[in-house]
Amino acid sequence: MSRQQAWFIARARHRFAMTRECSLLLPHVCAALADPRQPGSDDTCLEKLLDWFRELTKFDPTVELVQNNPCLTEFITSVLALPEPSPSILSFTLRLAGILAASENRFQHLQQEKLLVRLFGRDGPLNSALWEDASVRSGWVEGVHSMMHHQPALHFLCDGGGIDVIFTLQGDPSLFVASAASQLLVHMLTFSVESEMTEPLSTKDCDWPACAQMIIKHIEDSLQSSSSSHIEQSLKLLTSLFGSCRATWTEVLWLGIAKQIESFLTEETVQVQHMLANLLLRIAWSPVFCDTKGSIWALVTSALEHLTPVQAGPLAVGILRIPECPQDVRIQALTVLLQPMDCILRAASQPLEYAGLLDESVSDPATVESLLSSKSSCVNLLCQTLAHLEKLLSLIRLPVDLPYMSLLRSLMTILQFCNGFLSPASPLGSTISRILINCFRVQRSALDVLAALSKQKGCDTLLGSLFDVLLAYLESPNTNPTVLKKTFQATSKWLVRLQELSCSNTQWQQTKKILEDVFLVLQKRLYSPCWEVRDSSLEFLTALINCLKDQDEFRQSLLSSEVPRLTENLLEDPESYVRASAVTAVGHLAFITCFAPESPAIGNQYNKENIVAKLQEILSTDPEGFPRRAVISIFTKWLRQGCTGQLEDTERFVSRVIQTVEHDLDWEVRLGGLELVEVFCSQTFRQLGHPKCTYAPLSSVVTSYINQNESLHVFCRAKVFSFLFQSLCDYDKPIGQRACDVLLGLRYTFYPVRTLKDSQGAEDSRAGPSIAWLQRTLRQGSMAQNFPTDGDNGVDFQDPESMLLALDIIDLEDLHDGLNKSSDHVEKSPQSLLQDILATVGTIEENEADCY
């Protein structure tokens, strides 16, 4: 163990050790919990108590905890003595005992008292009526899992027959218990192999340790049984094992069962195929199978062939992401994913019209066709396929080349089927069309894939017809609002693609026409009576400006449309979300209308002052928080991009904004104000240059330094300091934290080198009465109500000298620590928890007294 590790553990032990107060309270708590008259304790308290014990034992394997606190073993004994303990207390006891027995020393201690046998052995709850209760079974499994960290525990369980109980619990009616039992077996198998094996296993000589042997035999027996549920349990266990354990012995295990697993693919009597995809995927991902990869890939290929398209989908998309997947398997996987899309394309088009996505020789479309022609399976299969394709397309590095053009054509076909615009050419097409008309689920998924496809090259010839489809969706009054939103997203992505391509004149004409159509339909949507539609339209506009503001054609089309004027009108929308989105959109529009170097001469309506004044007005008068938040974040964005003009203008602008937001009732607006101040400070420093280190912090040169430090003057004039210090006392904690961060940033800039000094509250001799007052006030934190900033208290927040002094003297680090403590740090302590439990018992005692 390195010194650092040892130090860490020592510190953790110290941190989590039981305090004297707690050890005094604990016996009372144990007695209360074991009291059968107690009407069922609060489960949350019991969980917290267990969490505390987990922390206590984590770094302390010694037996001291149980020795020094005999109440713990007494508690277990008294619960065991109860004729009818409540299931929740019994479950708690089992889990507590498991946590305590996690270290070998304490395990032995509890063994000596015969507690573990009585809890986890044959004669324990296992054979009582309480076993019927799922919480007791769950407590038993959890208890065993917790203690399974040393060999004595492993032997205790295996020798006592406990392992058979776990095997049975795999099929428990409670899914939680069944899953926990399965996880426990995985843990035991791994632990047994890794702790008890001295030599690495080989396939020829597999001499498993006893416990592992039992589990492996159980797995093999179950796999060979004729019961689907037993096979499923073992497959679940194996899936979880291969997912979590990458040790070489797993390969030996696999080789023993591979044949059996393979047989399930073709087996018709047991239906476990749906479990196989996940298992095979885990194995394919595992790095330990390098020697046997060939056979694994053969198995995967066979699975892709035999599983239904719905079962094979997740496997296909999973293995396509594996870099070393062989080409032929990849093609097979791709076939699974593309086959439904291929069928759609073929069903919709005349024979020989399009080539389809797949070579007919590799695909047998019969199964997929029959799934697509049934109402119940068609939508499911398509949605699943589309989700897989989207996942695949959103990978940064696509492992395969997809036939993008045909895929796009197929997506367009699906979208046209959904809005009833396509008359299909085949009977299958008519059936699919009938199923898909107005199907929002498929529309949404198809639009997601469409958006993801915009990043790929090779679809350019279809752009015209693609925009026909998208515009039909944007124009149709029947488009559902969520589908419309998705259409907007896809449209904005493809418009970006379109812009990238429009270099030649003909393409430019096409782009211009498409943009005109888009703005026309956007104009109509901005007038929609449905606020969600207005909102998504504005978001769409913002997204477009964000991506395309540098494109001339885009700017021209936008400015020659009605959209900018309408967007401004929506600043007065009755719905606050829409106003907020309108603020954001207008803020972005300003990059084109006012801030662009060659701003168009289109009258006064896009005058910068007008827009700033309008947004300022919203910031000071809008009754809802969302629009005000939007304004402050737009202002910050403008400031960041340097759009607010020269330094003097910016100073005036920031000062105005600060004065508006400092009394805002919405804490997020105030937080936005702090962010603005932070950006302002860093920009000011960037423009004026940082204060030189040589000026720092010797008090004798402070005055001369201040005179030179223009940035400090700027901050004082802009009333930055009063805002920051006031925010330190804000009721809302994030504000105080942020203000403190900004002030600390300023301090580091003005005083880059600091000597460590005693910060335990000693007043600095340099602090005059006003700064001393500030110091005292800040220590009160948010208790300091009505923080006066008007100078009544003698603090002049606009005086650079005082502020520089304040930055130096006030212990901002201490304030920072205080603010960062969570507000419930007192309530969360174990002592408080124990007191809470006792308090509830207290009420019972009081009631008892009342009875007499």
Partner: protein, 658 residues
């Protein structure tokens, strides 16, 4: 069970159902699409319309140029608009006992039926249907009568001449049946024959059937009807809606267990979702007004306009239209807006609860109060003083052939700033606009039809599971313009029966039972005999008495007392003679046992032959033959009566008597 189909229009139906001994007319819709062939009736002299050239035949003949005018390649009849009536020849309409009206749009042909056919029956409808129906008729009569037309064209209707005309006039059906509009006295006379009914009220018709209106959710007071006897149930579903608009929701549960369901009045625009269309309507309206243009909305004075006004009430502020005036012009505008507020019990739950607050159920009251919505009987008078542009005008008629809308089309048609927005689905907007071409004004088609679409129909049919569905032929195939949309047709099992104009359908349902009452004293006299566990039978001898379609079994009259005098009884006093009753037999004869019995009784040479229907037992010596079949037994012996009686008694031993 017969159905006479008098109208070919699926949403303006007129059918006659013969059920038991009653003749019931289901709706009498008036197909007004015929008016699209006529020139509009302008309120003030229109130089443009009066200057239209007369139509000249290909051979140069001009004999029709007074009757037909040409406008932008279309030919129109220059005459008072006429309507296509329901068939009157298919059956004698004077035999119709009752007319059931399902909603105010489906009663516009009522005066033609009640006043011209010798109809003497009763019409049943709900109160809002009658009141709003009256408003629609009043508006129609008013719009046509206030623009008297000097000439009336009839020459073009001549079959020989019609053949020469261009489409669509050439293909217009039954032009000889087209009639001018009725008059107000006829309307009043027709409406006086209506008896008001409430939802779920049971109305007995001649004791034979019971009819009940149910809420159909489409319009104020709109109903579907249940027509049932004791053992048969026919549902008539017409113009229903499952959307949450202003009327009471549709009552679906009561339609269950129908033997026949007649399905009419589905949405005319199945591909348009009404919510989307309302959005489209609002966006286009706002875009036009914000650009300084006027919006014209041709509409009926009642119905969807209430929902549109409600929607605009919420939308006006968000779109910055607070200062734009909304005008509603109709001779019945005021009554329509006021009527809508007083039919609280016919409204959806939300609106009903408002009445108790108390608040007006529709927010158009507030629009009127705040002067945002103003209504006028016509463009003359106050309106011309108040008129400000840009504005939004709601006015009729949606066909654009008469009413104040004609004036606004002429006034605003030349500017591309203005927009006409079609919301009523009854007329093709392109046909409606044809006589105004060339038109600079923008046209937007946002048909709002809240009636059932095919998905909703398919769910409804699955829910109520009628044995047979009958519907207009238009619903059994995809729309002609979208032949690939096989989802746009009624899909049920067994497939629906379809009908077309002037067709008589024998409904596939056979009546099997009739309810008969047994008088208590007769019931007292019956002695049931258990013939199988749980099944008892009794013979009933009684007189069947039938009056007003009710059947009663009464005790037979006592056997006539020997006449006290020798006077001959009068024939008219004669009552059915009651013969003493022979017992009825039941059971079957087991041949083997029967043969054994015969042998026991000394018949030695018994031979049995199997036949298709049973057996023949042959007694060779006695030359006798006993033919045993499932429902008859014959003993054939040659004049040996004692033998026959003996054999008969042996047969009877195997049968039960009661």
């Amino acid at each position: 069970l017969k159905l006479y189909c008098l109208s070919g229009h699926p949403t303006l139906p007129c059918n006659v159902l013969k059920f038991k001994s009653t003749t019931i007319m289901l709706d009498c819709g008036l197909d007004m699409t015929s008016t699209l062939n006529f020139l509009p009736l302008p309120l003030v002299q229109s130089p443009r319309l009066s200057k239209l050239p007369g139509w000249v035949l290909k051979d140069g003949s001009t004999f029709l140029d007074k009757e037909l005018k040409e406008c932008s390649g279309h030919v129109f009849v220059d005459s008072v608009p006429e309507f296509c009536l329901p068939e009157t020849e298919l059956l004698d309409l004077s035999t119709v006992d009752v007319i059931l009206i399902s909603n105010y749009h489906c009663m516009m042909a009522l005066p033609y039926i009640t006043e011209y056919t010798g109809f003497t029956g009763t019409v049943y409808a709900t109160e809002p249907t009658v009141q709003i129906g009256r408003l629609l008729m009043e508006e129609l009569v008013n719009s046509i009568e206030r623009v008297p037309k000097a000439q009336s064209a009839s020459m073009w209707k001549n079959k020989e001449v019609q053949r020469l005309l261009p489409t669509p006039l050439k293909d217009a059906v039954e032009v000889s049946m087209w009639r001018k509009c009725y008059t107000m006295p006829e309307v009043n006379a027709a409406l006086s024959k209506i008896q008001l009914v409430g939802y779920s009220q049971k109305i007995e018709l001649f004791g034979a059937v019971q009819v009940t209106p149910l809420s159909s959710g489409y319009a104020l007071g709109s109903s579907n009807w249940i027509i049932q006897s004791h053992y048969e149930k026919v549902s008539y579903v017409s113009g229903s809606s499952l959307l949450t608009t202003h009327p009471q929701p549709m009552d679906q549960a009561s339609l269950k267990n129908s033997d026949v369901l007649i399905l009419t009045g589905l949405t005319q625009i199945p591909t348009a979702n009404p919510d989307g269309m309302v959005g489209e309507f609002c966006s286009n309206l706002a875009m036009t007004v914000r650009n300084g243009g006027n919006v014209l909305v041709p509409c009926y004075p009642s119905g969807v306009i209430y929902d549109l006004l409600e929607c605009l009430y919420q939308y006006i502020d968000s779109a910055g239209l607070s200062n734009v005036p909304f005008y509603f012009i109709s001779p019945v505008a005021n009554s329509s807006l006021e009527f809508s507020q007083i039919f609280a019990e016919w409204l959806c739950h939300n609106k009903q609860t408002k009445v108790y607050l108390p608040e007006p159920p529709f927010p158009h009251a507030e629009l009127i109060q705040t002067n945002k919505l103003k209504h006028y009987p016509s463009i003359h008078g106050d309106f011309s003083n108040d008129f400000k542009q840009p504005c939004v005008v709601f006015t009729g008629h949606p066909s654009l052939r008469f009413g104040d809308v004609v004036h606004f089309m002429e006034l605003w048609g030349k500017s591309s700033l203005n927009t006409v927005i079609f919301t009523e689905p009854d007329f093709s907007y392109l046909d409606a606009l044809a006589p105004y071409q060339p038109l600079a004004m923008k046209c937007v088609y946002c048909p709002i039809d809240t009636r059932l679409n095919f998905i909703q129909v398919s769910k409804l049919l699955k829910e109520v599971q009628p044995l047979h569905v009958v519907c207009p032929e238009q619903y059994t195939q995809p729309p002609p313009t979208q032949s690939h949309r096989t989802d746009l047709m009624v899909d049920c099992q067994p497939p629906p029966m379809s009908y077309r104009r002037a067709e008589v359908l024998t409904l596939p349902y056979k009546r099997r039972y009739e309810k008969i009452e047994i008088m208590p004293d007769l019931a007292d006299s019956l002695v049931p005999l258990e013939i199988k566990p749980g099944i008892s039978l009794a013979t009933v001898s009684a007189v069947l008495h039938t009056k007003d379609n009710k059947h009663v079994l009464q005790l037979p009259p006592k056997p006539p007392q020997p006449p006290a005098s020798k006077k001959r009884k009068r024939v008219s006093d004669d009552v059915p003679e009651c013969k003493p009753l022979k017992p009825l037999l039941s059971g079957s004869i087991p041949v083997d046992q029967f043969v054994q019995t015969l042998e026991k009784h000394g018949f030695s040479d018994v031979k049995v032959e199997d036949t298709a229907k049973g057996h023949i037992v042959l007694l060779q010596e006695a030359e006798t033959l006993i033919q045993i079949e499932e429902d008859s037994t014959h003993i054939i012996c040659d004049n040996d009566e004692p033998l026959r009686v003996k054999l008969r008694d042996l047969v009877l031993k195997f049968l039960q008597k009661f």
